[in-house]
């Protein structure tokens, strides 16, 4: 039945070897009162049946191929070359586990070493780990890593208000038992300069995002100033980035970041309703022994040939247990592999081209929308692929109109997280958005001003 191969004859023979007459005997240690509960689950289905059912369920979702998507906010609809899925669908990669036995895991290990190398190259940092769960937990791990570097301990952490709201939430969740003071994001308009001013000798780490959550790019000069201010107090600077933006823009390693994190989904991983994604985690070399997560290192075998192993595992839970740098065990290996394949096949030229396409299309869309009466682009600094639009009507209403009338998924509604911006949406434009889609968006938005909209209350 299903994936258990035994026939009744097999079972009988095996039971005879064990010396039992009934499999139930093996469970004598389970208190009789609780043994063999009847589970209330739907009746089993064959492969043919479940496929039909799930195909129908999947059809109930509106997927990228059916609409034009201008939604980003931490998860991005970027192009994924066909090569990526070919590699991550290789049985040898996806049905192996953590490479505890390096001699029969050189495929995974070398691929991870190469991933670490390309992440280091992209971020301008010395080294990288083999992944965290996602962009959010990577930030949390960065904070914890920063805490570990301080003797005596420092208990203050500064988060920029334009660090992704969910990332800030995760930092707070992770560290809720640590007695920290997490500050900096009380006022939504605290800029990096003001943030730096909050930094002191109590501060363990300052975390910012660039391009920030609202899409704004912070210049290398601004970032260098921030780093200098942070370092002056002996604190660390952690920067969360969009890896695609690094195809064009100065990497954090060049402006003084100590730790760089990123959501790596954009690098060859499908949207997949939010996961599995990829926590990118890079750092300065002197932080290596405080780093969390798996690290693959180069070494040699008995014959002196080059090979790769998991290394510095004395940092990790399976050796250090309660004193480990993190509890992480299973990571996002296959997503890191996807990112590696993506970076390898896009390469220097391709990644830059993707970043350029995002830049040009986003700016073109912004220019067009800026020309619409009733709309305003809130972008004091240069932006990369996302920008804020202040709208003439509530964003939820507009988005419903876009979807119903134009098959467009509109931008992220900022009214919850950044109410001071008013009726504002965060639009995202990538290389996947054609000029025609942008045209449609502009047309649709223009119709909104002419108030074709039924107020949201009536719709529900």
């Amino acid at each position: 039945m299903r994936y258990t191969p035994h026939t009744d004859a097999d079972r009988r023979a095996m039971m005879a070897t064990i010396g039992i007459a009934d499999v139930a005997e093996l469970f004598a240690d389970v208190p009789a009162a609780y043994r063999f509960p009847q589970l209330n689950l739907p009746a089993p289905l064959t492969e043919m049946e479940i496929a039909r059912e799930l195909e129908a369920l999947a059809e109930e979702n509106t997927s990228m191929g059916q609409v034009a998507c201008f939604l980003g906010a931490g998860a991005y609809n970027h192009f994924i070359p066909a090569v990526v899925d070919v590699v991550i669908s290789r049985s040898e990669f996806y049905t192996a586990y953590t490479p505890y036995q390096p001699e029969i895991s050189q495929g995974t290990l070398q691929a991870m070493f190469e991933y670490q190398s390309m992440v280091a190259a992209l971020t301008g940092m010395d080294a990288a780990n083999a992944s965290h769960y996602d962009g959010a937990t990577a930030v949390a791990e960065a904070v914890i890593m920063a805490l570990h570097t301080h003797r005596p301990p420092r208990k203050k952490v500064l988060l920029s208000p334009v660090l992704h709201p969910q990332y800030r939430a995760v930092v707070r969740t992770y560290t809720q038992g640590m007695g920290l003071r997490i500050l900096g994001d009380e006022q939504p308009d605290t800029d990096f300069h003001a943030l730096a001013a909050l930094c002191d000798e109590e501060t363990a780490v300052v975390v910012v995002q660039n391009p920030d959550f609202l899409g704004q790019l912070h210049s290398p000069a601004e970032m260098r100033d921030l780093a200098a201010a942070v370092h002056a107090h002996g604190a660390l600077l952690a920067v969360s980035v969009d890896p695609i933006s690094l195809g064009l823009f100065t990497p954090p390693g060049a402006y003084g970041a100590d730790i760089v994190t990123a959501e790596g989904q954009a690098l060859g991983n499908s949207l997949s309703f939010g996961g599995p994604y990829l926590g990118i985690f890079a750092f300065r070399h002197d932080l290596v022994r405080r780093s969390s997560g798996r690290l693959v290192g180069e070494t040699v075998d008995l014959d002196g040939a080059c090979g790769y192993v998991l290394t510095l595992s004395t940092r990790e839970q399976h050796i250090r247990r309660g004193k480990a740098t993190s509890n992480i065990c299973t990571n996002q290996g296959l997503n890191a592999l996807a990112a590696a394949v993506y970076l390898a096949v896009m390469g220097k030229h391709g990644l830059r081209k993707v970043a350029e396409l995002c830049w040009h299309k986003a700016h073109y869309a912004a220019d067009r929308i800026a020309a619409l009466p009733g709309y305003e682009i809130l972008a004091p600094k240069p932006f990369f692929k996302e920008f804020v639009v202040r709208c003439p009507r509530p964003v939820a209403e507009i988005n419903r109109f876009l979807l119903d009338e134009y098959g467009i998924i509109g931008g992220y509604d900022l009214s919850q997280d950044y109410p001071h911006l008013g009726q504002a949406m965060l639009l995202c434009v990538t290389e996947m958005n054609t000029a025609d889609e942008i045209e449609d968006l502009v047309q649709a938005l223009s119709e909104v001003t002419e108030s074709h909209l039924i107020p949201l209350e009536v719709v529900f």
Binding site: S63, T330, A344
Partner: protein, 484 residues
């Protein structure tokens, strides 16, 4: 030797082409631009070949037996992969309007329900990305619940010495204090030692049942009762759930919080290290503390996001490793109640069969071999008459016989441990062949120990120097830079 990726690069080579912009251009801001982008330049053909060749250097479940204890390396059904790649699942954005993703939310909702049913718990959050992530969530839940009870002074988490390293590590991350509890000679928790720690500073106990020794905790009900009486909660490490689906429900035994490893019990692939998925389930009392949002149903039957009212917060951006949810859902729906019980029965049958074979042959001590094991058991790499041979040698030699070695040197409380978990998807023939290999290796250990010390002999590389790797770590090579 497969070349290092960058060594396949040549200036100007291209992989995948991208189109030119179809919109008017906007000048780039010069002062923001990077000087160089030291990524490789390789044509698509060579990229593909590189990874295809690399892949062949891996062992994997799809190649053969992979009895890595505690990891449940069962077969990963191929239909799971197909389902997870349906555009309606793989190409939806996590922030889409819920009305446009009702199918996905229904799947998550039903998975929450089914996992709760399997574990005998009241509510589940699918957000954690792996087992350790579920642990962290669970410990934070216990902590938050103690605070809510006005017991914020409590700070001790009791952890048996046989526990997986993530248990104490998760405890520390949540700001609490680990107190280790020894195991008794029979492999159960030492009840007296437990009692000695059960004071009003206890937040809870983390227990793995079946334990990492592969044994069902015989006093589980009493253990839970004692902890509860002391005002603590019991956290169940669900990594070993594969042994007890339809056999026992942790919630009924007294477990308050439990994480599931979808990548173990529920057949989602291990991905060469991940991604996994570590949903956390709790009793009704703790449901409000779950990380979230989770999926709920409103009056009109629509699926909606709901943040539990006293949630510990979100532990991850978005909603968890949804791709893994699809796979686990597929698996559970294909099995149903009988099927899952059959899975656990056969997992335990296979482990006991292999244990019985090894006991009969007598080459490897099995410290708890007098008991029936659950889905795994722990033998020792101590071969009489081959004292110079260690578990590591045996493991490496197994590679030459075509098998993945078991988990070694864990649990820590068993010296020279070989932790063997066959899983239910293996045939009797495979188990026989594995036992034969172990017997042959024991023979070699006595007659030709050098063969074992220098094993493996047939792998893509010879034994690797891990000490050297750690002494002067090289974690990245970027052209034009010093290796770092």
């Amino acid at each position: 030797m497969e070349p290092f990726l960058y060594d396949l690069s040549r200036p100007g080579r291209r992989g995948v082409d991208m189109p030119d912009p179809d919109v008017p251009l906007t000048p780039l801001p010069a002062e923001y631009l990077r000087d160089d982008l030291p990524l490789p330049e390789i044509n698509e053909t060579e990229v593909v070949r590189h990874y295809i060749r690399l892949s062949q250097k891996n062992y994997a479940v799809d190649k053969g037996f992979y009895p890595l204890g505690s990891c449940t390396m069962k077969y990963n059904p191929k239909i799971n992969e197909r389902m997870a790649r349906l555009p309606g699942f793989a190409q939806i954005h996590p922030l889409q309007d819920p009305t446009t993703v009702q199918g996905a939310m229904q799947l998550m909702y039903e998975l929450q329900q089914m996992l709760a049913e399997i574990a005998g718990l009241a509510a589940v959050s699918l957000q954690p990305a792996a087992g350790a992530h579920g642990e962290l969530s669970g410990v934070l839940i216990m902590r938050a619940a103690q605070v809510a009870r006005g017991q914020g002074h409590r700070h001790k988490i009791l952890v048996p010495d046989s526990a997986h390293g993530t248990n104490p590590a998760s405890t520390t991350m949540s700001g609490l204090t680990v107190v280790e509890i020894p195991s008794g000679a029979d492999g159960n928790v030492d009840i007296d030692a437990l009692k000695a720690q059960l004071d009003d500073r206890v937040v809870g106990l983390m227990i793995t049942n079946p334990s990492t020794l592969g044994l069902f905790e015989q006093h589980i009900v009493e253990v839970c009762r004692l902890v509860h009486e002391a005002g603590g909660f019991v956290y169940g490490d669900g990594a070993n759930l594969n042994a007890i689906m339809g056999i026992a429900r942790p919630g009924e035994l007294g477990i308050d919080v439990l994480h599931f490893n979808l990548h173990k019990t529920f057949s989602t692939p291990h991905g060469g290290g991940g991604p996994g998925s570590g949903p956390v389930g709790v009793t009704a009392e703790l449901a409000d503390f779950l990380p979230g949002p989770i999926v709920a149903q409103n009056e009109s039957g629509e699926y909606v996001w709901k943040m539990p009212v006293r949630s510990i917060g979100r532990v991850k951006a978005f909603h968890g490793n949804f791709g893994m949810h699809v796979r686990a859902y597929t698996y559970i729906r294909m099995h149903g109640a009988e099927g899952l019980r059959r899975v656990s029965e056969d997992a335990v049958l296979n482990a006991n069969y292999l244990q019985a074979l090894l006991k009969q042959r007598g080459d490897y001590p099995i410290p708890y071999g007098h008991r029936f094991c659950m889905h795994e058991f722990v033998a020792q790499g101590r071969i009489a008459g081959a004292e110079g041979v260690h578990t590591l040698d045996i493991a490496k030699r197994l590679i030459d016989y075509g098998f993945h070695p078991p988990t070694i040197y864990f649990p820590l409380i068993v010296p020279e441990a070989l932790m063997i978990e066959p899983t239910e998807t293996e045939t009797q023939e495979t188990l026989d062949a594995f036992a034969d290999a172990l017997t042959a290796i024991a023979q070699e250990a006595r007659t030709d120990p050098e063969r074992l010390h220098t094993a493996p002999h047939t792998a893509p590389v010879r034994r690797l120097d891990e000490v050297r790797a750690a002494r002067q770590p090289i974690l990245a090579r970027v052209p034009g830079r010093q290796p770092a």
